[in-house]
């Protein structure tokens, strides 16, 4: 067989789901993945990444075309393929009521791993994932990052010849993310195991030998990360905002000029952007307004964004962010403190989730909460929203003490939870109307706000559809629209960009910066450290303690020599854990 040299060999693979609207999930995929290397699948949500992985794993059959995994015809012999591979789906099925060891044993049983091999394999997996000390802990009590590591360990209870990972780092903090990647790379290097991984993080894709960019069920481009940087070559610049101007204000102007700018993100106090083809320096003069501008080498993310944006322009459908782009206001931030937190403590039994934390947030600020999984972010967040009473301390939101006047405080906040949390069998309009009513809007105002939300968040075309069946992007917009239906003074966003592709993330942040410019205070948690650059100020928490607070620039300089926020974050956490050796174990609790 000639195909045995390849891990995956696909020709014109087409897969269509019954009853699905739009084009097929996979529309003529042709690719070959050589043996023994790390391959990344990237692309927007709905590009067909998961479908392709499931086809490679033999969990589904292609409608047409040929697909060989490890030289075996998947459609003809799916079981043979499944015996050779390990597959970790997006939501790995850990048994939360079983301990770490019981989960490992269960998966070993399911895969028929012989008893005498288990000991050695388990030891290796446990040392690799650093979980040897937690074998008796219930899986349900592990932090998000540790759950993923255990999932990976369970996937690897037997030695596979190909490992498939579907977005293994969604909702995982930078620290655990780095560890997961260390494990994966170790597997590739030591065991020569081929790994195919889909991811929304471009820095993860950059670590791979081979990157496949997918969109709309097709392969848009593939190659080494270096090769994929080329489309953006010579088009990447860093612009430094003028004195007194926020990076994100400049970023907003740049990203709004869709004709000349393909992408713009705030980075280390400046703005990194990609020019569209054929753009002359003078085309940008009116936007840069004298901001200093330097050329910079292109990265994988730039290349992929360029490919995706150019493709979207060709097709004529742009994920248009509806912003009042001409009216990027000056900052309305003032000295009024909308949130005051003093000596906030939250204990669960003997465990201290949040220890004596104090900070305040001014009106119109974008305030970011960063920290590893289990650091106390979510607990802090829930207390601020009035979802969880504080054990002790002072907490004032929008001028109301949360101990004595919770309902009036709640009327002034909007809340977008981590996962989609609206009524799935109610339509878009019904959801908006219900929450508007629950927030006490009068009839006329309610109608006006629902109409406004339908337009502003581009939901009108789907207004009578069940919200549970909306595509991902619509769901997120509906969640935002619902949280803003009563025009709250403060908007709480809990990991709003987890599992969202880079294009949608840009659109999301454009909306947030507009809201902030209009005077809405934003509190946001995120695992994308580069997103901290959109914030006015951030805090970094670990083990319930506040480790750093300040502007992104201040926090970066706190970690000397950190080139970007990701490094600064890792540095600050590391330093804190070294000086407080007990801290590290508390995090895992």
């Amino acid at each position: 067989m000639t195909t045995t040299a390849l891990t995956v060999d696909a020709k014109d693979v087409v897969k269509r789901f019954k009853g699905a609207v739009g084009g097929p999930a996979l529309n003529g995929i042709t690719l070959s993945i050589p043996k023994g290397q790390l391959t990344a699948l990237v692309g927007p949500d709905g590009a067909g990444k998961t479908t392709l992985i499931r086809l490679i794993a033999g969990l589904m059959k292609p409608d047409s075309g040929s697909l060989y995994t490890l030289g075996i015809d998947v459609a003809a012999k799916p079981q043979e393929v499944q015996d050779l591979i390990s597959y970790m789906p997006q939501r790995f099925g850990l048994y939360e009521d079983l301990s770490v060891m019981e989960n490992l044993n269960l998966y070993a049983d399911l895969h028929g791993v012989p008893m005498d091999e288990r000991r050695e394999r388990f030891d290796r997996m446990l040392s690799m994932t650093d979980m040897a000390a937690f074998t008796n802990r219930l899986a349900g009590n592990l932090s998000g990052g540790m759950k993923q590591k255990l999932g990976l360990a369970c996937t690897l209870v037997r030695s596979p010849r190909l490992l498939l990972l579907d977005e293994p780092t969604v909702g995982v903090d930078p620290l655990s993310r780095r560890e997961l990647w260390r494990i994966v790379q170790q597997l590739v290097e030591e065991e020569g195991l081929p790994v195919i991984v889909s991811t929304a993080y471009m820095d993860e894709a950059e670590r791979c030998k081979h990157v496949i960019v997918m969109t709309e069920g097709q392969v848009l481009a593939q190659g080494t990360p270096d090769e994929l940087c080329r489309p953006a070559k010579g088009r990447c610049f860093v612009a430094y905002p003028r004195e007194g101007e926020l990076a994100r204000t400049l970023q907003a102007r740049l990203i709004d000029d869709k004709r000349h700018v393909l992408d713009a993100v705030p980075e280390s106090g400046a703005v990194r952007f990609i020019q569209a083809g054929g753009t002359e320096p003078r085309d940008l003069e009116g936007i840069l307004l004298g901001a200093r501008c330097e050329a910079t080498p292109s990265r994988l993310e730039d290349g992929v964004m360029t490919l995706l944006r150019e493709r979207a322009t060709q097709d004529g459908h742009e994920d248009a962010v509806e912003t009042k782009s001409s009216s990027v206001q000056l900052d309305t931030k003032d000295s009024i403190e909308l949130i005051k937190v003093r000596d906030l403590v939250r204990q669960f039994g003997s465990f201290t989730a949040v220890a004596s934390t104090s900070f305040s947030v001014r009106r119109g600020e974008i305030f970011g909460l960063l920290g590893p999984n289990g650091a106390g972010k979510t607990t802090t967040f829930r207390m601020l929203c009035g979802l969880l009473p504080a054990t002790s301390g002072f907490l004032e939101v929008a001028g109301f003490n949360l101990r004595t006047a919770r309902a009036p405080a709640r009327a002034r906040i909007g809340y977008v939870s981590q996962k989609f949390a609206l009524y799935g069998n109610l339509s878009v309009t019904e959801n908006l109307t219900f929450f508007g009513g629950a927030y006490g809007l009068g009839r006329q105002e309610l109608n006006a706000q629902v109409e406004r939300a339908l337009d502003e968040f581009q939901l009108r075309e789907k207004k009578d559809e069940r919200s549970g069946e909306l595509p991902g992007g619509f769901k997120q917009r509906l969640a935002m629209a619902t949280a803003l239906i009563h025009r709250p003074e403060i908007l709480f966003l809990d990991e709003p960009t987890s599992g969202i592709d880079p294009l949608a993330r840009r659109a999301f942040w454009r909306r947030i910066t507009t809201l902030a410019a209009e005077g809405t205070t934003i509190i946001v948690t995120t695992h994308f450290m580069e997103e901290a650059e959109y914030c006015d100020r951030i805090v970094i928490q670990d083990a319930g303690r506040l480790l750093a607070i300040g502007t992104p620039h201040e926090v970066r300089s706190q970690a000397s020599g950190a080139a970007n926020m990701n490094e600064a974050f890792l540095e600050i956490i590391k330093k804190a854990r070294e000086s407080r050796p007990t801290g590290a174990t508390a995090v895992e609790a």
Binding site: E430, F434, G437
Partner: protein, 376 residues
Amino acid sequence: MMTLLESITGSLRRISFLFRKEVLAILKDPAIRVILIVPIVIQSLVFGYAATYDLNHVRYAVLNESHGAASTNLLARLEGSKVFVRAATLRNSSDIARAIDNGEALLVLHFAPDFDAKLASTGSAPVQLILDGRNSTTANMAAGHLSTLIGQFNASLPNAVRPPVNIEIRAWFNPNLESRWNIVPALIASLSMIQTLLLAALSVAREREQGTFDQLLVTPLRPMEILIGKASPAITIGLVQASLVFCVALFWFRIPFQGSLVVLYVGLVAFTTACVGIGLSISALSLNMHQAMVYAFVLIMPLILLSGLVTPVGNMPTALQILTYADPLRFAIDLVRRVYLEGAGWQDVGMDFVPMLVIAAITLPVAAWLFRNRLT
């Protein structure tokens, strides 16, 4: 005063939106929509037909050693009734045990050799009745019915010395002794309870599982408002279900309704509120729908057993009898039966309200408190 009025109207408005949302969420789910109507009608028909211990074709045997006019006359009455069917005619007393043991007859009627003579001379004579105690309920009812026949026979005797024992009291509200009359009205309360309790038990648990409960808790809705908004649709659905069974009883089984609709429905509202209170407490305590379902089922069985629907409360051990005070179904069944069959009024069933309202007054605030204070 103005602000109080405003806060009340604001509160009512918010509750009305929650009410509408709850009803929409229930009715838009095709699975729930079907479950709400079809099963309860089918159940009431099935229970109405199947769970009857009516006297039909009771097989009996006779050992007549007297052979006189009176005994023959009495037996003729038995033959004439549609209830009794003679399965055997015995020759001597040793046959009695065999007839009962092999289930040939449910009861044996024994006339002693001196029956007719004694009756003629003293005006009174005993008849021996041997019953199959293994089938006690039916046997008891058969015995009761037989007593009625004997009573009628006694009355027909020209020289009756002692007045016949009148056992007609037993059949006062159910002249044909149809057990269906007894069961179907009880179903109005018990069938609707099962689904109301489940529906309420799932309501908060479903929202917790899907994450929408947090979204609800960050709105200005107060726990009491959430409670009312969640309880009232469940109570409404419970009443609709009770009405469906009521219609089956009235129009299909044609059991005449003797009482006042107002008393019946006020009673049902009190009962359904208690059930919804129990259901919402379970729901607020559960982290997911699975837990809520388990808790609900664990409760439903004892609620039904302790209600007196299957076994009379009076026959239970004292400890269990005390426990029945915590069972709203016991009092609902009593109330519905008496209003339906006897036409009982406020003063007759007033005491039934007390336990139901006490249960509602405890469980509803507990549920409201748990909404916010159940740690996740």
